[in-house]
Symmetry: C2
Subunit: 200 residues, 2 copies
DNA sequence: GTCGGTGACCGACCGTCGGTCGGTGAAGGA
DNA sequence: TCCTTCACCGACCGACGGTCGGTCACCGAC
């Protein structure tokens, strides 16, 4: 398996090249404004090559999305799992997430365009992304501990994810992302501390 | 002004017809899957007529969006302003908002597609919708009362709006919207009560 | 070595769809 | 009555996502 045939290595390289160029374009111009022809031209390839590797534009975007998201998911999960206390874990995870929002690639691809591109699919088929399961993992100990009586895990996860995205958008749109990040942090703290105080 | 020329009335009727048809199509198929030609054909008009009234597809969607949103905004504001206590006002407003999420038109146009269509514009120019000002109005008394020290109004509004959208999405995707609505309500209650208890 | 199969890649072509533009006929003021 | 205005027409355009038959280097089999 480590020894790959020439063809195989070449194909993989081409695929990665395509993803790299696509990522650059998607981050810079957004999904809709990026043309497949443009990507192909910059990669020095023909259209057929692109469609040989990716069934359509959405699939290409998904590949970029996965890469960008993975870069963040690891950090978030690590930050959360490093904490013993469930509340501290939630706080650490959220903090790591907000950190990620400072990166242009994450903001544009994951916060803005992913909804545009993948909402339709999620709407029709029940497919869901990676963030929701991630949040569930972090929130499960909280709900299981009985700290939040009468709260459905999924309903909470959705509200929390939405709140995070709202904060992310606030940071993304701000003239001074760093300052906005601090403000969002403060708000998060108040909400978290409030809920915690009222239920334990 | 009340007496309108024939031409004027006819034009207005045409415009409303287009918005009506467009709304029907957008709600049923979503933004991307709806073709301008289809709208025009169903309206029994020519393409030029559509583009005489709306500069492009986004503008047409915006018109539909405004109508659908207004139907809700009034209810939300009324519910919120009917309450004396700021906390009760917030709770009532949120409740009215979740009610609106049970309506297909609101779910599809405002919750799902509006992000798709209008995010790009909001990203480039700082244009913002109607929801954010609405939330600010409701939240201002809270922040002004000093109940939430160190909290920036805008940061809070963004987080709250995001949380609401998350809950809305949860309701929209659920097999049983009514039950999901109740769950979302419970979560909202816990969060609100928590924050309130911790800060007053 | 050579030969046949495989598959990565090519690039001309297509259908769709958003958007344009010169025209037309009725409304309505002078 | 004439002339301007404008809502509306519909053929046309160009961009873009996606297709498909073809090509040629690679690779395993004999």
């Amino acid at each position: 398996m480590t020894v790959k045939r020439l063809r195989e290595r070449q194909a993989e390289a081409t695929r990665e090249l395509l993803v790299g160029i696509a990522r650059e374009r998607f981050v810079e111009q957004g999904y809709k404004a990026t043309a497949m022809d443009d990507i192909v031209q910059r990669a020095g390839l023909a259209k057929g090559a692109l469609y040989h590797h990716f069934s359509n534009k959405d699939a290409l975007f998904k590949a970029v999305y996965d890469v960008v998201l993975d870069e963040t998911a690891d950090a978030v999960m690590a930050a959360a799992l490093a904490e013993e206390d469930p509340w501290a874990a939630v706080r650490a995870g959220l903090s790591a997430f907000l950190d990620a929002c400072l990166r242009p690639a994450f903001r544009r691809v994951v916060i803005i365009d992913s909804v545009t591109v993948m909402a339709a699919r999620a709407w029709d088929s029940g497919t869901e992304g990676v963030e929701l399961p991630m949040l569930r993992t972090v929130l499960t100990p909280l709900v299981a501990s009985g700290a939040l009586p009468g709260v459905a895990l999924d309903a909470l996860a959705h509200l929390a994810l939405g709140g995070l995205y709202g904060s992310a958008l606030y940071i993304a749109r701000a003239d001074d992302p760093q300052a906005a990040r601090a403000e969002a942090d403060a708000v998060l703290d108040v909400v978290l501390r409030g809920v915690r105080a009222a239920t334990t």
